[in-house]
C-alpha cells in the first residue's frame, strides 16, 4: 500500500506515504489509483506532502492514471507539492493537465 485514503462520499483524499515516488512503487501507485477510479470515485486529491523526489516512472504512472480517469469522468488534483517536485512537474508541463493546489482544504473549496 502506498496511498493512505480518506474517502468522503465520492471524493478521495489520497496521501502518498513514501518520500520517494519512483520505479519501486510506481506500479503499486497506478494500481491503487485505478482501483479508486473503478470504485466510482469522482475526484481523487493526491497529496505529495511526504514526497521529496519523483522519477519518470512514477510520473508515467500518474499520467496513466489520468488517462484512465478522463473517459470515466474522474478528476485528479495534486496537492502539497514540495518545491522540487512542483518545479519538475511545471518544467514538463504537467501543470497543464493536473489541477494543482496548496493543500486538501484549498482543493476541497473548489467543490
Amino acid at each position: 500500500m502506498i496511498l493512505k485514503v480518506n474517502q468522503i462520499n465520492d471524493v478521495a483524499q489520497a496521501t502518498i506515504l513514501t518520500e520517494e515516488a519512483s520505479l519501486a512503487n510506481a506500479d503499486m501507485f497506478k494500481e491503487e489509483m485505478i482501483t479508486l477510479i473503478v470504485n466510482g470515485t469522482k475526484l481523487i486529491i493526491v497529496s505529495f506532502e511526504n514526497v521529496n523526489y519523483i522519477d519518470s516512472s512514477f510520473l508515467g504512472s500518474l499520467v496513466v492514471a489520468l488517462k484512465y480517469a478522463m473517459p470515466r469522468k474522474t478528476d485528479i488534483y495534486l496537492v502539497a507539492l514540495k518545491p522540487d517536485v512542483k518545479n519538475l512537474l511545471t518544467l514538463i508541463r504537467m501543470d497543464k493537465v493536473f489541477k494543482i493546489f496548496k493543500n486538501y482544504e484549498q482543493a476541497m473549496e473548489t467543490l
Partner: protein, 385 residues
Amino acid sequence: MISFPDPPSKVKTILIVEDNLLFRKIIESSLKKAGYTCLLSDSATEALVLLEKEMPDLILSDYDMPEINGFDFRQTVLLIPKIRDIPFVFLTSFTDDSMMLEGLNMNALDYINKETPMPVIISKLNNIIKSLENEHIRSIRELRIAAETLNVKSVPETSPELQSFRIHFWHKGYLGYPGGDFIDFIKVDERYCFALLGDIMGKKWKAWFFTFGFLSYIRAAIRFCVLDNDFTLKTIVQKINKLVYLDESLQNILSSLSLLLLDNQTGQISYTGAGDLPLISFDSERQSATTVLSSGLLLGLLEDGFYDEQIIQMKSGDQLAIFTDGMIDIPSNGSKKSDYPFFVEKIRPYLGKSKSFDLIKTNVLDQINDSNQMDDASIIFIEKQ
C-alpha cells in the same frame, strides 16, 4: 553499439525468517561476516509486512514457527507477484525426505539442514546468489546479441557531419541497462537535418522495448512531412502525438520529445518540445545562457498536445543543449532530488569555450556513475560553426 555493462555486484541483502532468537543471531552474524546485509523477522507475519517495503535478494526461512509455518509462508509469498520471484531457501531441522521434497516443490532453491556447519551454509548461499547473478549476466548478454542482430538501436553510433553545425551527444543508461532514452539524427539533404531526443517514462527493459515503436513513428512522421515538403515542426510533432495517442498498444506509455530542425543555410534552429525539459541556449556575443521553454505536452497524453514552435537564430559560436531528466536527478544528503537550475549551473562555466562539450564531458558527464545516477541520462549539444 548498445552498452550493457554487467550490473554492479553490490552488497546483497538476505531476509532471515526465524523464530529462535539465538539461531537468528548466529546466522545473522555469520552472514554479516560473509559480507551480506541482513533483514530479520521472528515470524512469517512480520516478514510479510517487511516485504511490503523491502526487496531482499534472498529469503532464508525456517520451517517450524508459531502461527504461520515456513511452508505456509512460502505459499503466501508465491501468491504475491511483487515478491514471488525472490530466491527462497529453507533452513530447518525438519529434514525427512518427504518434507524436503515438499519444500523444494514450492519453488525453493534449496532445503538446508540446520545441523549443517555454518561455513557450509554460507557457501551454499554464496553459490546460489553467484549462480543467479551469472544467469542474469548471461540473459543480458543474450539480449544484447539479439538486439544487435535485429539492428535495433535507440542511440546512434556517431553524430552527422554538417556544414554549419557541430553536433555532440552523450548517453548513459541507468545502471548500464539500456533504458527509455532515445536519440536520432535524420539528415534530409545538405540543408536540413533533424535532431531528436526523447525519454520514455520508465526504466530498464520495460521502457527500452518501447523506444523502437516510438522511434519508428517519429521517423515515419518526419519522412512523410519531408515528402510533402512540410518542415513545420509543430505539425510533425502533432502527427507523432496523434499516432501515439491512437495506438492502443502504447496506451500506457508516454514519452517526452525534443525535436530540432537545423537549417545549414540560414543557421536557424527550430525547436518543438513535448513534455521535455527546457532547452539551454548560449549566445556567444552576449555571453549569456537562457532557457527556452516549449508548451507541448508529453506524447500520447491528449489528442491535442498544444505544440508550439520556436526559432533560434544561431550565430557562429552560439551553442544549444537539450537533455533528459536523468541529467537533473541528483543524490542529495542521502535522498534524491530533481534540480534543473543546478544542472544549468554546473554546465554554465563551460559554455562559450572552444571545446565546450569536451569540458562538459570531463567535468560533469564523466562524474555520473552507478553510485549517483538515478535515471537514463542523455544530452545533445549543438554548436554553430
